[in-house]
Symmetry: C2
Subunit: 328 residues, 2 copies
């Protein structure tokens, strides 16, 4: 029987992976849940200009506005969660009740941060749950129109790492499916190392760039204190990672990361949280920083700079809430 | 002979003190240098609604656009510098060459921060130079229209503290002049203690509120980490103050300061740097934080949070420079 795929959240990440999957699964079997780009996506489909996959690509999946509407197109083999990792009411995991209708439905979390999986795991304990680390620089330049540049790498593994054998197999199948579509997916026995590795840069640049309205290279060159500040924040993150058992997430890795960015030209990369801040949209505060601080507490690691950064970004996020009401 | 007064910078502080002085000095002998509110000030004069001095107050001084233009109205007895304390080219001290034309011209710095006096002192070594700490909550609600609330207190002293006797006398005369106009001025033998005392709150709330687009009470209530972050920043400032010899600027003073703000209702106070940030205007980064870090270095005081805050606010300030060109 033909595979059916739900993409919950048709922003940059969700749309590009929907496109990759559309090369092996018929687009009428791909259902995209849209919010802000619903009208554009429904009318014209999605358009992607990619330096890897090609210019002027189009994708015309089923486009719906809510998870409830998507249930009519199921049952689903894969539910890709590519919304922002923020708290909502009702929560995203609970919204998926309508579409995670059989034990073989594989839930794939294409999201930032750490420790974001547990609510999905406890609500759907029998379903394969895949956690990912995504490297995919994409910008939505107008509703349902995306520009993707130079890098596409998807790290995949089960949550938890010691999941049952059939969940491990589901992870392998998903990786093969992405590869068939032309994507670059890598299977990991413990995906958390990849999540922590990504967090090292992510939990630094996202809040720093959002608060300062600067891209990464712009920030590094803005004053004589910028580099040392970034380095010190990364040091705290790596200290928590080490305490959590991810020994390769080291200060050395942070220094290499900074050197890579220093070598780039102005203006540099725009982290997603900066894009959100410039638009006054809510940000992934807890997925990136709150959960990290909780881990620091659990392991007794001192993180004064991260605590400050959390206080600042939480306040900035709340200021957007004041301006936009309950907009997500 | 009638006194002549130049007010360089007719924002909130400059205009309210011009009004106070206009009660003892004829308005035609008061010259205001305006920038953004030049047209409004020239056409209609200034309007102030004050909970202390009265509603619907008007002031019609001489209004000019540049220091050069003001020279024609001199010579001056007092030059009040009430511009923002930011670096410009040419520098503000050098612009005053045209109006500090006699050795009795008293220069009065009505500005935030610490260690902002030295360029004035070295350019005009023989003139009385008064440094101040101003407590005056005023908002310019439209060009040349101001709302002032509840508090007016001006602390005055010579720079340096051990200035010649005639400079000390000039400080006393200025304080008496303000008092005659109905203001509350206090003469200090060492004004720097007042500058550091003000800095404790100022160097904390200004950057934190500007970065997070939150007022002080809003920030304190935004997350469980906010209070401790503010407390830790104040602790670093007080450590530098103590090392610089200002022993009363203590963590205890910081804690009292925080308790006062906690007792206030939402939304709380809008520091001037937040007002600047919301308008995309350049900010007093070095007067408030850069000079503080230089002092920390001189005294060997560790200030990791202040270093981070400096890196952040300098980058935010630079982002406004990118957006507005060379606007001051």
């Amino acid at each position: 029987m033909a595979l059916k795929i739900l993409v919950f959240g048709s922003g940059s990440i969700g749309t590009v992976y929907a496109y990759i999957l559309s090369r092996v699964v018929s687009p009428e079997n791909i259902v995209c849940v849209c919010r802000s780009n619903y009208q554009a996506g429904r009318k014209n489909g999605f358009r992607i200009d990619s330096s890897i996959f090609g210019r002027g690509l189009t994708l015309k999946p089923q486009v719906v506005e809510t998870v409830e509407q998507s249930a009519a197109f199921g049952p689903y083999d894969y539910v890709l969660v590519s919304t922002k990792a923020i708290s909502t009411s009702p929560s995203y995991p609970s919204l998926l009740r309508a579409v995670v209708t059989q034990p073989t439905t594989t839930i794939v979390l294409l999201q930032n941060g750490i420790d974001t999986e547990s609510e999905y795991a406890s609500m759907y304990p029998n379903n394969p749950l895949l956690s990912c680390a995504v490297y995919l620089p994409v910008t939505q330049v107008s509703p349902a129109v995306f520009v993707h540049q130079d890098l596409e790498k998807l790290h995949v593994g089960t949550y938890p790492a010691n999941a049952p054998q059939e969940h491990k197999e589901a992870a392998g199948e998903f990786v093969r499916l992405i590869a068939k579509g032309g994507g670059s997916a890598v299977l990991h026995d413990d995906i958390q190392l990849e999540r922590w590795t990504k967090l090292l840069g992510n939990a630094t640049w996202n809040p720093v760039c959002a608060l300062t309205r600067s891209r990464d290279v712009q920030f590094l060159r803005s004053s004589g204190h910028a580099r040392e500040y970034v380095r010190s924040v990364m040091y705290e993150i790596s200290s928590v990672a080490q305490a959590a058992g991810y020994k390769t997430v080291s200060q050395q890795m942070g220094d290499m990361h900074i050197r890579n960015i220093e070598a780039k030209d102005l203006p540099g990369n725009e982290p997603s949280m900066l894009a959100d801040a410039l638009s006054g949209r809510r940000m992934e505060v807890d997925a990136l920083l709150g959960n990290l601080l909780a881990r620091a507490d659990r392991h007794g690691v001192q993180t004064p700079l991260l605590r400050g950064l959390y206080a600042q970004i939480a306040a900035l996020d709340e200021s957007f809430g004041r301006r936009s009401g309950s907009k997500i």
